[in-house]
């Protein structure tokens, strides 16, 4: 591999690492905002229930049109509550866009947006140790764990770290 190829490769890795950090930050921000929205939903529901339990006497005194309007507004709020909670929960839950694998051309399978099923296939402890060792470059430490970190779902960083380690060993061999 030419030195220019190596530097280009490192630049690509750096770009990918930055993109991963960016996506991670966006996902965390999204999760926090959605959690706040769910809390607001809970506050609204609590306040409505609290008011409804105290409207006993008022409801009896009210005109028929007010009965109908009040019940309609309550039903509307309930439908909107269910829709809002459903959308917010689906925004929080992990997913993988269907077109993503095609866009990435199969180069990083199950790296972006891994689903829980993907992550559970590997031994979490083993893949974590392999991940840390790959990141700090101690490959001998992970030799007994190689089968975990070489599994297709090991972690976000391992493909990058593995290629970095391969580049390192090839450049050492060249020397």
């Amino acid at each position: 591999m030419q030195p220019s190829d190596v530097s280009l490769h490192e630049a690509k890795e750096q770009l990918l690492t930055t993109a991963l950090g960016d996506v991670k930050g966006s996902i965390h921000a999204n999760d926090q905002k959605v959690s706040a929205a769910l809390v607001v939903n809970g506050l609204l529901l609590t306040s409505v229930v609290n008011v409804v339990t105290h409207t006993d006497r008022t409801y009896k005194k009210a005109e028929p049109w007010a009965h109908t309007l009040g019940l309609a507004l309550l039903a509307l709020a309930l439908v909107m509550f269910i829709a809002s909670v459903g959308y917010l929960l689906s925004a929080m839950s992990p997913y993988r866009p269907e077109t993503l694998e095609k866009k990435l051309d199969g180069r990083y399978p199950r790296v972006f947006f891994p689903l829980p099923d993907d992550l559970e296939q590997a031994d979490p402890f083993g893949s974590w140790r392999g991940r840390v060792a790959d990141c700090i470059g101690k490959r001998s430490w992970t030799s007994s764990r190689r089968r975990f970190s070489s599994s297709r779902t090991s972690c976000i960083w391992s493909p990058i770290a593995r290629r970095r380690a391969m580049n390192g060993s090839s450049s050492r061999a060249a020397r």
């Binding site: 959605v34 607001v40 008011v51 007010a66 507004l73 709020a77 809002s84």
Partner: protein, 32 residues
């Protein structure tokens, strides 16, 4: 970057808040 689901969830939350406020106003006006 915000997902479409989150945007729809916020929109429905705003509508729900409107419906709840209308309900409160109705209850208050009937009670008064």
């Amino acid at each position: 970057m915000e997902s479409d689901c989150a945007k729809k969830g916020y929109e429905w939350l705003v509508l729900e808040g409107g419906a709840v406020i209308l309900f409160f106003v109705l209850v208050a006006s009937v009670a008064v």
